[in-house]
């Protein structure tokens, strides 16, 4: 196996070995959201004509799972390796910073997609959902997971303690996902909050992903995909620069 493939395989093996925690638990949590919000708000809201609220909710929850799990994978794996010191085995090997980056991000994308797919499959047992443009949905899921996997890498590189990664997750990632239109259409918001939502890159991922199912969205999907792609490029280049410098990895 080559170096990149080995590191990627190791990252995948790591989360599959604890799949109750890394797959089953987030799937259950997300389905609880679906049950509770779906039950509480069913019949009161109809965001797109002919789309029930529970159906509207599912793609948002799937994307939320993809994003949060992609972030959790790279961030928790790397911070644990840094704290326990076993990152040394990777640092001693002739692995380039690009291979390092790619392995962590690809593994995060896989974890995000696996959890998202599980949520989707279980939700489909209870909720009928159209699939208007699957390639759009897949493109947003891939780009979103890659962006969050990269952000997870940044959080773990910059942090010295698990506490700091948790703060990044709880004070940045969770608010940005919750406020990205997972549970609502931003058109239901007052104008100020609508404008603010447009500054949240997570909004474009959730909105674009939802377009894949309903063929309707708050923002044109092509523009959304361009914004998400540009964000991914910007964050990736910054992360590659950080890894190349060896900041907080090689002293």
């Amino acid at each position: 196996m080559n170096r990149f493939a080995t590191l990627c395989y190791k990252e995948l093996l790591r989360f599959f070995k604890v799949s109750i925690q890394t797959v089953a638990a987030p799937v259950l949590t997300t389905l609880l959201y679906l049950v509770i919000f779906g039950h509480a708000l069913a019949g009161r809201l109809e965001i797109y004509p002919g789309v029930r609220y529970t159906a509207f909710l599912v793609p948002g929850l799937v994307m939320m799972s993809v994003l949060q799990n992609a972030f959790a994978n790279s961030s928790s794996s790397l911070i644990q390796s840094k704290i326990t010191g076993n990152i040394v085995f990777v640092l001693l090997a002739p692995i380039s910073y690009v291979e390092f980056f790619a392995a962590y991000v690809v593994a995060s994308v896989v974890r995000g997609l696996v959890v998202g797919l599980c949520v989707l499959v279980v939700a489909l047992l209870f909720v009928e959902l159209p699939l208007h443009a699957p390639w759009w949905a897949l493109a947003f899921a891939l780009l979103g997971a890659a962006l969050l996997g990269t952000l997870g890498l940044v959080a773990a590189v910059l942090s010295d303690k698990i506490d700091q990664v948790a703060a990044f997750q709880n004070f940045v990632i969770v608010p940005l996902t919750f406020l990205s239109g997972v549970f609502y259409s931003i058109h239901t918001l007052p104008p100020f909050w609508q404008r603010l939502s447009h500054a949240n890159p997570f909004f474009y991922m959730v909105d674009g992903f939802r377009y894949g199912f309903f063929g309707a969205s708050d923002f044109p999907p092509l523009a959304s995909v361009a914004i998400v792609f540009a964000s991914l490029l910007a964050v990736s280049s910054a992360t590659l620069g950080l890894l190349k410098s060896g900041y907080k990895l090689r002293y």
Partner: protein
């Protein structure tokens, strides 16, 4: 500091805590970046040609680190893959055999004792058959059995042409195994020579005498360290002085009841060079 280790050498790096041994190793391994200067491993610059340098270097870190998610065999297979090696199982089996790890091949890392974890660290450093092996305190907190097994294996690797760089607190290990030694103090080399020369030139001999009388004949060479009744401890700088001392004792008709000559040991050299000895 400027230092060159020859290919195939068994080289020792000694010094008190904080002397810079591990920092030096980390710079060689690319874990720490030097502010200035250059380090080459088998001719490859550790920064500019890091892939080639790391491919020929195997480091056993001092800290007892492990990845709790994997078994011993998984750990060694992953480590092989990090060096671009596939189908490395024959060598992995051989390394595990020599380090007495075969019975634990499928045990999770978490379940291993400290000594066993240390063996896996050694095995991880050897999966890619590195030309240069750096052992940073490999026997710290390790039982006698492993120590012997480890040295047996490392000496074999050295005979097969692998260069070994060793740091240790056990000076007798350095004395037994290393052909050349650098002593470090506060980031500087205070001595760099063959083990034989270091032992010969710094420490001298200690002569212990038990005579049949309580005074030493005048004019004995060396330095009197201790006198208690008819027993004396003398520091001599070489064997010529021993010869002179014996001749003077015979001339003075001093009867020798007991006599012992202690050759120098590295501990003494170490203490004197690092300014801790008497």
């Amino acid at each position: 500091m400027s230092l060159e280790v020859e290919e195939g050498e068994f080289f020792g790096l000694l010094g008190p805590n904080g002397a810079g041994k591990t920092t030096l190793i980390n710079v060689i391994a690319g874990l720490t970046r030097a502010d200035a200067g250059a380090v080459r491993v088998m001719g490859a610059d550790v920064r500019a040609e890091y892939r080639r340098a790391r491919q020929v270097l195997g480091v056993v870190p001092q800290e007892l680190v492990f990845d709790p998610f994997f078994t011993v065999r998984e750990t060694l297979r992953l480590q092989s893959g990090y060096y671009g090696l596939r189908r490395n199982d024959a060598w992995i089996d051989e390394v595990m055999h020599h380090l007495d790890l075969t019975a634990k091949a499928d045990a999770n890392m978490r379940s291993l004792s400290g000594g066993m974890k240390r063996r896996v660290l050694v095995a991880q450093a050897l999966v890619h058959k590195p030309r240069v092996i750096v052992l940073d305190e490999p026997t710290a907190g390790v039982d006698v059995e492993l120590r012997q097994g480890l040295w047996h294996f490392v000496r074999r690797l050295n005979r097969d042409g692998h260069s070994i760089v060793l740091t240790t607190h056990y000076l007798e290990e350095a004395e037994t195994h290393c052909s050349r030694i650098a002593m470090l103090k506060e980031g500087r080399i205070v001595a760099l020579d063959t083990t034989r020369n270091l032992l010969g030139s710094f420490s001298g001999l200690e002569l212990r005498l038990h005579l049949d009388r309580a005074d030493l004949p005048p004019g004995l060479p060396g330095r009197l360290l201790e006198a208690e009744g008819a027993q004396f401890r003398l520091r001599l700088s070489n064997y010529q002085e021993l010869e002179q001392a014996l001749a003077l004792l015979r001339q003075a008709d001093a009867g020798i009841r007991e006599m012992a000559v202690h050759p120098p040991d590295l501990e003494e050299v170490f203490l004197r060079l690092t300014g801790r000895g008497t």
